[in-house]
Symmetry: C2
Subunit: 715 residues, 2 copies
């Protein structure tokens, strides 16, 4: 047995004895701490920096000295010498900071592993549960150094590169299984075209981007650190795009835009119809989404570069030496050094989620059969396709990954929600409702998941409501109504203060958004302005209830309080829209629960932007969501979009998405008359045949509807 020494790693506290002579990076691996590296341990990439703590640390039982490591090689010394600013900024002395791939253990050492040197980086997802997601993107960079060819060995560029890459990968990934062989590596054709020049520009030293550890998709001269990707949620109404740093997981820009397909139809059925019946109906809708995506990508890159500059650390204003970079690299890659701004060329993968119709329109697949029985998509499993095939203007060799679809009306967005929320890992039964123009519902736990979907219409997003608008500045977002006076108070997006009970307000209202509509209807019911069937009560002592153009209405804001110069009322017609939406949602949830033999879920997860803004209590009062203890209701925001981002950052979550998507059982809502009765009944406030213990005390005017009673007896 060879001589051993004690190595302690901070901040993890991992400790243990390792053989003399192994590198600190290897020692750390043996002690369970991964240290980054993208070069083949050649003292080049500098990603494996560690700091040696010197002195006697009685608490740890160790005396640690820099002499307990082999001295820096010429290459290592050179690396640090050429980065004086970095050394100064961190207060590092030569010899105190080391490249762990070079420093060999000759005695006991206590080592600090800085955050940026740590491998297996993670992002944290906060949701119903808090989880850490390891950063393990499908895109990985490797620094490859090659011996230049000569007349003796004039082997071709690709063969030379793939052998070098095999070596770097085996060193960087040491310990991982199924390391790719040079012979199994492939290179994207468009990338091959630029290979000869990139290699020579980099003087036989290049940064190689590999997709899924098998296909080379980018070769850049010299050492280039960062890689970027995008996660996109294509909603029927809104498209949200997140530009991410694939190393840190950081969101560099979040952009969103209306889905321009809306001109071809508001909901998925009309877009399917448009694709079927209009000439080039599919092509037009496909192009529309591709065009807006290209705009969003450009915008995201611009935003990221701006905020980078505003942080004052723009590398464009600093010389390469100031940036702590080597002259050699400066010479090797003048262009990329001159501007360190991101360009769309640097985006190397996009992960998409969206409902199955959006999925088909994005991929230019005919959606014809999504809307007719038996409702069959073209493909379930995740699609990997070159971005260039879709006309997306990012790196020419980049891939697009679209998460799996589950059914015609349960799409890749639900796959995203599933890997973000992980109901398939829970013991408890979770009901997840993703509310958009359609609502998708998933119920279950680790033993099984069942899903269904129901059209809720656009009312919950503020559309098809007379004075409805998107959640944007000027929109009323909260409404309360006084039981006694029946006078409202409201809050406007962009204003700090609620308006006073007297009606004077800090800002002017432009309209009313989804969350405020729920609030208003709920409060009108609670205050007794409308009855449990949504009808206006007669003879109330308020001027706010009146007969409007669309029948009776309740005025939330008078013309003088608005920026549109007109009263903003909630009409009977508006209330009916909410009733239809909440009825559909409620009966879908109830039916799904019933099919699983459950009275209520253990937890209710509201996904979608909408869920984040509604008042859970008020939503429960009108029966928009099933009754359960309020502390078990979670609003998790855009979980589908989060799922896309998680899949972008962790390739294993894609496999998981495929597995969960296959595991989910589809539940078709029945089409029988009895079900229709249930649906009619569910339009009432709240569903009177079911007990609502958790909110019953909040409804003073609660009554039992005679029709509800009758139906309850029947069922």
């Amino acid at each position: 047995m060879s001589k051993q020494h004690l190595v302690i790693l901070q901040p993890s506290g991992r400790r243990g004895h390792v053989d003399e002579g192994i590198s600190l990076r290897e020692a750390a691996r043996q002690l369970g701490v991964e240290i980054e590296s993208i070069c083949a341990e050649n003292a080049t990439c500098g990603k494996c920096k560690v700091v040696i703590e010197e002195g006697t640390f009685e608490r740890y039982g160790i005396t640690s000295k820099r002499e307990h490591l082999s001295g820096p090689s010429a290459e290592e010394a050179d690396y640090f010498r050429r980065r004086p600013k970095m050394m100064a900024a961190n207060n590092w002395e030569m010899g105190q900071v080391r490249l762990s791939c070079q420093a060999r253990v000759l005695g006991n050492v206590l080592v600090q592993v800085p955050e940026e040197s740590r491998g297996n980086k993670q992002i944290v997802r906060k949701s119903a549960t808090q989880r850490e997601i390891e950063i393990k993107p499908s895109i990985r960079k490797y620094l490859v150094e090659m011996t230049p060819p000569d007349l003796e060995k004039p082997i071709a560029d690709w063969e030379r590169l793939s052998r070098g890459l095999e070596i770097t990968m085996s060193v960087v990934q040491r310990g991982e299984e199924n390391l790719p062989k040079a012979a199994d590596l492939t290179i994207d054709y468009q990338c091959l075209r630029g290979l000869a020049n990139a290699i020579r520009e980099g003087n036989w030293r290049v940064t190689v981007t590999v997709w899924q550890d098998k296909e080379v998709i980018r070769v850049q001269p010299g050492y280039v650190e960062k890689s970027y990707g995008a996660a996109v949620d294509i909603g029927s109404t809104t498209i949200a795009l997140y530009l991410c740093d694939l190393e840190t997981g950081e969101i560099l820009a979040a952009e969103s835009e209306m889905n321009p397909q809306i001109v071809y139809g508001e909901d998925v059925m009309s877009r399917i119809q448009y694709a079927i019946s209009e000439p080039d109906g599919l092509k037009k809708q496909h192009k529309a989404v591709i065009n807006i995506l290209n705009q969003l990508l450009k915008q995201a890159v611009k935003t990221a570069n701006q905020s980078h500059r505003e942080e004052g650390d723009s590398p464009t204003r600093r010389s390469p030496v100031e940036r702590g970079e080597s002259r050699e690299e400066e010479i090797a890659t003048p262009a990329s050094q001159a501007r360190n701004d991101i360009s769309t060329e640097d985006i190397l993968e996009i992960v998409f989620v969206g409902n199955t119709t959006m999925h088909h329109l994005l991929l230019n697949l005919p959606p014809d059969h999504l809307g007719r029985s038996p409702f069959v998509p073209t493909v379930h499993k995740a699609v990997d396709v070159k971005a260039r095939e879709l006309g997306l203007q990012i790196n020419l060799s980049a891939y697009v990954h679209v998460l799996p679809t589950i059914a015609s009306f349960i799409g890749a967005d639900t796959s995203g929600v599933l890997i973000a929320e992980e109901p398939h890992k829970q013991d408890e039964n979770w009901l997840i409702i993703d509310v958009g123009t359609n609502a998708e519902l998933v119920l279950g736990n680790r033993h099984g998941l069942v899903c269904t979907s129901t059209p809720t219409g656009p009312a919950l997003e503020g559309a098809h409501i007379e004075y409805g608008m998107r959640a944007a500045p000027g929109a009323i977002e909260r409404v309360e109504i006084d039981d006694a006076t029946l006078e409202p108070r409201y809050k406007i997006i962009g204003e700090e203060e609620w308006n006073s009970p007297k009606g004077d307000t800090a800002g002017k209202a432009k309209g009313i958004c989804g969350s405020a509509i729920i609030d208003a209807v709920s409060e009108m019911f609670r205050a007794g302005i409308i009855d449990s069937r949504g009808r206006f009560r007669r003879g109330l002592s308020t001027t706010r209830v009146r007969d409007g153009e669309n029948g009776p209405e309740y005025v939330v804001a008078w013309a003088g309080e608005t920026s549109i110069g007109r009263d903003i009322p909630i009409s009977l017609k508006d209330i009916r829209q909410i009733q239809l939406a909440k009825g559909a949602l409620y009966v879908a949830a109830r039916t799904l629960l019933k099919s699983a033999g459950l009275e209520r879920p253990d937890k209710l997860i509201l996904a979608g932007g909408f869920g984040s803004y509604i008042d859970k209590t008020k939503a429960m009062i009108i029966g928009l969501i099933p009754d359960l203890p309020l502390e078990n209701v979670y609003a998790v925001g855009n979980a589908a979009g989060d799922g896309a981002r998680i899949a972008l950052l962790n390739v294993e979550k894609r496999r998981e998405a495929g597995e969960v998507a296959r595991m989910v059982r589809r539940y078709e809502l029945p089409a029988d008359p009895e079900f229709q009765d249930q649906f009619m009944l569910a339009m009432n406030f709240p569903h009177m045949t079911e007990p609502f213990p958790h909110i019953a005390h909040l409804i003073p005017h609660q009554e039992v509807d005679p029709i509800a009673k009758k139906l309850a007896r029947k069922s």
Copy 2:
């Protein structure tokens, strides 16, 4: 042990006992005879037809009866009933011809397996050796029948198809190893786009084309039998394209055209230079070759359709029923049935060969480093790329396969020659010379191969010769000169007869092509018109030798015998061109042989169209090829093109090409002055420092050049 019966298969004569109840197709497999099938033994594709011989065959010791097989199922009976013409044409009775996947062995049977039903079909390649090449293209078709989806199982189209395909593949390929699983199958994105419609048009019965047993590249409604591919040899001067039936290996059309890149430079060096120095120089040359390829592809399809019609069996003139096809298929695929003509859409793969520069220009790879030391190509190994990436207008999902390159000046054409000729499988030492604008030479046997290349210039192809022209009608292709009178006889392409010694000729000469230039120079040397250094002798008693504009010349045809109204002479300048070409070729061959320690090869293989037309004796007289017994010299025609076709038809030969290409050692011709002396010397007729025992007796005027003597002493 279950009951067994004797099965004899003709014409192979294979015989043996098999278990009762197994299908005839399975029985044949057990006896080592593969029978075709592309449906999952569903009595649908009809490819496995066999004929039952009835009677007592004492010679074989068998009494064979149709009753010794299970009776036809309803499906099988239906299959034959719907093809009355086919039955009549072959003189088949119902029950006598059977689908071998359906007929089960119940007693002894003697079975005829018709040629078209046999699996493992072969093509024969005649060359230095005669070889059979199994037809095993990378493209394979399968007939897949699916259960239509319903509300219970609304599984997506791709998942449905891939499961069905897995089943068909496992039945069709039973016995083969590594059968693909549905989960491992992929589908080309462009093919996925048409999937939903194709499946429904085919009423859940489709013909699926799979590339390399892993990627679906075409889905056609119903049952579609044929698949087509193309093999292309891109020469610096000429592009040759062969349209092939991928089932039979038959060449349906052979088209050729001048390489339009010739306007950018005659030889590879000038094209490389053009790509480097001209704006868009690469792009222009790439587009030029792609455009001509698209024209050739269209032309080949047209030719194939025309000759198909001329054979009188055009399906377009016969009703589907006459064609022996089912009404069901007629209904399922009206469009494809209406015209059975091939379209470029039906071309599902193209295999390319060409020198490394042509390879790079085809693939739009910068050829910059091919022409400068250390002469490095971008890639050695075979490239598979979607035809659409190159702009080739064939099936949108089709692949292009480009054979491997060996070095900067030993290209994919040599890889093609190698798999066509197989020197790596020989015990004898073969020298293969592929003559074009450049000559590539490969020497060796199963223990090793060494290669080199040398520019020979265009003279051997009739260019840079005053009255030179391509081998086309009107070109003089053969020349003989009478020793005594010094009068020539010649033969013109397109004419049956040689002209008479008096000069009257059946046709009129337009010029002189490569083979006749060799003839003329050789004959002029043999007849003593020129000396061993190529100089015209003085004082010959013939008016045919005279002083022309370019110095002395010998008139092969007088103006009156030509269609150009001018004398056609061979000038001293022309002779110098031939001397340069033959000197380069000879010294390359000699140096390669010397490097391998060989005096001469056991066999000399002349590849390239040129080799097929030259007179071997005359070529040896002038020292164009090394001296060896004439019976060991083989002209094998366009072996590179044959190699492309072989790789198109047999996917295993592609693997072999990769292996051989890696095994070939590159030999660089030295650049030292001594080598230059050798080259100067080799310009003589024949090389005087070497013995030429096999043709010495044919050269009456042979003499030893004093310089040659001197050099011979030196070396």
